[in-house]
Symmetry: D2
């Protein structure tokens, strides 16, 4: 493994120079006004990235998994029912966490590679006249399959059923990289982490909560302490934390949201789309299928690529690391050995991506796959050349 090459795991992403420096801080007194000057704009920045006017932004020293637990334990009671689709490893883990906390999960089994079946949700919610379902759980981007689900469709399903359940969205690998509309989609809790679209090291669970979700905390009876949103909210009112905050990472988050907003969210999303398009062109040139069933489901942050029968996908990833010093993601769960994953989110350029594709070509050729080296690179180059911005073109004339 080499520290010089970029990584192509689906998070943590490559770290921009300036964010590394922002995180690498000397100790400051986290009870001094200096800290408020970091926390306040960091929270405001996240709110804007979520495209929300009112969401309460709460940031825990934890990871996305801790963020899920925060969502559940602060809003629900033992025995409550939640509705979730199971279409990949991460939606599966969320279901599992619910069950550990004594919740009843109404699971909609969905083939891996498919998105959340909003129509099925609508049927179930419509049938739930007693409103036993307290929350709908939606994984925006299934990192295991490279599938992006349509959250607005989930909201429309809930509205069509006139169902009052809360809507929780796992945006860990989407927020900051793909369009996310907290307010428009009527999201009640959005969960993310620092190590994906925010381009930071892991360490922060980042949540946006609607007033309805915040209110639910008053009556929720699942036990919690570290993840209690009431303590966090109260501390924020004094620009403080209920325990020692991760000052460096928060400082990084402050700068990272500034960077995203300065670039313009639409430009950030277009950049991810362009890089992903290049990856998909390469995969097509190789003649390999994506796990994602249809183009409307394609994720712009991670591509899961199925390997031909008889080829161990994990071996491709292993060789990329061992022989060429480059990291990719293995297939998870039922995709183990059958797919590898290319992370293409966060701080990444077209040029870096080309080196990742070139690496995969070498590994696959080394393993005897019928892949012509250079073929995927050429396909991606074609995308990246055409997608130059008009300004760049103009400047180049």
């Amino acid at each position: 493994m080499s520290l010089q090459n970029p990584t192509f795991i689906p998070g943590p992403t490559n770290l921009p120079e300036v964010l590394r420096k922002a995180c690498d801080m000397p100790t400051i007194d986290h009870r001094s006004p200096l800290f408020g000057d970091i926390l306040r704009p960091a929270r405001a920045g996240v709110q804007q990235v979520l495209k929300s006017r009112d969401a309460e932004i709460l940031i825990f020293p934890s990871t996305g998994t801790g963020g899920w637990e925060t969502a559940l334990t602060n809003t629900l009671a033992p025995g409550d029912t939640v509705l979730a689709a199971r279409n990949g490893m991460f939606s599966q883990r969320w279901v599992d966490m619910c069950q550990r906390h004594g919740l009843t999960v109404e699971i909609v089994e969905t083939p891996w590679g498919e998105g959340i079946p909003a129509d099925r949700f609508e049927e179930i919610l419509s049938a739930d006249k007693a409103h036993k379902i307290k929350a709908v759980l939606a994984t925006h981007n299934e990192t295991a399959t490279g599938v992006r689900s349509d959250i607005s469709a989930v909201r429309r399903a809930m509205d069509a059923a006139a169902h009052p359940a809360l809507l929780f969205v796992d945006g860990v690998s989407s927020i900051g990289s793909m369009d996310f509309r907290f307010d428009d989609w009527g999201v009640d809790i959005a969960v993310s982490g620092s190590q994906k679209g925010f381009m930071l090291p892991a360490g922060l669970a980042i949540l946006g909560l609607s007033p309805k979700a915040m209110a639910a905390a008053e009556t929720a009876t699942l036990p919690r302490a570290f993840f209690d949103i009431r303590d966090m909210k109260r501390a924020y009112d004094n620009a403080a934390y209920p325990y020692t905050p991760l000052v460096g990472l928060l400082n990084g988050l402050n700068l990272s949201t500034k960077m995203l907003l300065d670039e313009g969210l639409d430009n950030v999303f277009a950049r991810h789309r362009r890089i992903a398009d290049g990856v998909r062109a390469a995969v097509a040139a190789w003649g390999l299928p994506l796990c994602a069933a249809t183009p409307d489901l394609y994720s712009d942050t991670v591509s899961a690529v199925r390997t031909p029968e008889g080829v161990d996908a994990t071996e491709i990833v292993r060789r990329a690391a061992a022989d060429y010093g480059v990291a990719f993601g293995v297939g998870l769960g039922q995709l183990s050995g059958k797919a590898f994953r290319i992370g293409h989110l966060g701080s990444l350029t077209d040029v870096m991506m080309l080196s990742g594709l070139a690496t995969l070509e070498m590994c696959m050729a080394d393993l005897g796959l019928d892949i012509r080296p250079g073929s995927g690179v050429a396909a991606a180059q074609d995308v990246y050349r055409k997608s130059q911005t008009p300004q760049a073109r103009e400047a180049a004339e």
Copy 2:
């Protein structure tokens, strides 16, 4: 506030140059063998710092508070009884957390400034013939009062009562700075954080668990997921994490434990003792009392200093920050306004400490206290000159 001056809050501590660099890492694939090469020695290093042969070392992306929650939720069941002394803000917070999780706390009210009353514990445990008490909670070092309790005495009390309860010790502000003997004291769970004796930024809850504590996880029924020690243990068996680990901080922990062990734990403890002795000499020269009731209770990591009637201790801390750019700790809870706290743990030299004492003298004189500037510094200088190591003296001859 100045980034140039050292800080004297009781954690996070000043960061050694090499540890900052160890934490500031580029992204690596946390599923690659590189990660195991960080995690393994970091865990082994913590085990040695705890003076344990067998303790399972588990490290969560969280803080000491999360470490407490991990201890409780993995070993106890709703309605269980625990025994705890309440002699400061942090023991109070732990009691509060127990209650939130539905535990019954047998509280031994203890004056702030006193240590854990082991004799009282023995009485209570002896009386608990039914063994309703499942765990004894002990705060080794009360950061609010600068009081170090005698954990071996607590263990002796438990043994004298032949009581099978688990022994949980909050060593957040003691481990790595003052002697801690996991095995000798029969500790079942020790809780610490990265930002005190380990001289790192906050972000890691560091736990040591006895086989008995690990076994308790199999039957404990308090709900938990993020903090589930079984998941963590299982992941470690593959040199992995159940979610994204904080690689940089773990890399720092690896180096930090090496530094502590290379210096020699006894030397580390003696250094903290020497610096603390200088602080106490200064405080005595100022004619001010410590919160800690008797010398055997003096903490070597934090000193809480009571101010005279009519003097707002918080104002001293505020001025130190505003006028001189130096951070100290305010009094907490019932000591608010009545005491200020000097953190003297982690990465600190005699020379840095002298600048902290000089700062306090200026602030107190500015506020009209009857303190002669230079008096405390002189008293500390006397300690620091005498406590030079023989080697240093010899080299200097």
Copy 3:
């Protein structure tokens, strides 16, 4: 020696956090427009720090010594005469360099501890009717003795003699810390380095040159290549360097001049004055004399302190490093063993300075000097308390 303690050598100074980060850059193409965006404002910033409107700012990958060589070889011819006072180690070194380059030096021997005798200069220049003297060399701040000379007086002497010689000023340890007026004083070449008032690591020789000095390069016949100002100037016209530039340090210089100008040069100078006043108060409390003969000569960046007969001053410095991990400067040349030097320039706070003074007290007491520990600290504290800014006082009310 400890990396945690501040240093008190008279340069390189302690490095501000932000400047370290500015210098620590990844490689950029120094022929790309990015480089111009660093070089341009860095040069403009230096010009403002010099208080000049028109000085050409040239920055060589070298040190102050290389800056002197640049000044001489670009303006003079073999056999030319220059006028210089010799009142310390650094003026001595400059004289020596002139002689190596075949220049004739008219030396005004001056006791170490005295400043440049402007009246003597006037006599000599007035007597030089043939204008054989081509340049006057003046060391603004003698780092060896802690003496600041009056450059405006030197200019007045030159004007009174109506002498056309060039005026070269060594401002290595003054520029950026004490008032320097390139235009008002009619300076032709000012020489500085990155590692003093600019608070950066060593590596840059920083020069300001008047149009007259630039013109002299056309006829100067001393050989030079690396230090040729014509090549440098020509390269700058293309925002480039005649060889590989030190991009990181230049980036640091860009930020460092911004910091100085944002703080306000007068405030920067007042800060140095305040800290130096505290040092001098401490030295007086110890009953020790400064090398500088009279208060008007006191340097605000370095104090050279004479030790009593029979006391080896170098031993004080050695012990400070060996026993307490703090660096001071030894006496140089004729002051070797007879004086030690306290650097108090660049990035330094009152609080840091107090720790330096406390260290010296311990060392001197250890060596048996009749110094009462705490006495100097107390004297400095008195200065630092009184010199709080009104704003700070107000904020503190």
Copy 4:
């Protein structure tokens, strides 16, 4: 331009993470023993990289150009004759510097793209019965043309002529990346810089000097002061510098030589050869000629690629920077507009190199050259796959 992409200029090179951290140091006292612990092994390391047992290693705060000036001014007298081939921009610059210092240069005009004509040197030296030629100047690797000359052949020519001239070798862009044999080749002065094979930022002129070269300093009459090797040597005897050293860069050099020696010089050279072979395969696939006339002249650190008639090579470089954020070198001097240069030295992996080749393909295609995107990448992939080490292959089985 992007800070995320690797650079492909022929120096400064990409910086390894650990070397950046080694250079980024807090201030230490450069007169303390700490400094000797950096300087000593750094010098020893350079000596080993030069494959010399006795060469005096002197390191000046400067660049390679300053290193040349050091070589000339410390060994020669005004009017002395030196012999040099002019076969590129850097040999030209060295000739020019000689002339500025009043030396007479016997120039052997050599087509750009050719190496030093050792046979022509032998004729000239044999004819110089009076030994007017005092030094032979040889540019080991012409960075402008990507031509590596045969220094052992130059030495054989000198020996065949039994000529006592000194042999000076510019190894700026070869040392540390391609084989260099100071002792075997009878080199008298080797000149390098920190920013090429040593993988550090610019700032150090690194010289190796034979005893004969050191002795020449005693009689050389060219004026010098900053670059005087006698001062430097004398200072080293006290583990010090004649002026302020660049401590951070020296610390980096210490580590960088360790890295090179730990990897094994032969492995380092083979790595550069492999990466260069891939580049050359790509260039051949594009149907473009290298400037280097024949394969035995091919440089393993830089390739200069000629563009077809009518194609502005500079525009390719400009677009690579503007459109894709990647830096390459333009053609210099007579190659301006006719060639572009690919730097492939220092800290670089096969994978990074592939991204550079892919970028060039896009730029050339954008400009309408008849280049099939992916073709050069494929050719390089073929080289990189085949050149995997047996160990890597084995591990991969």
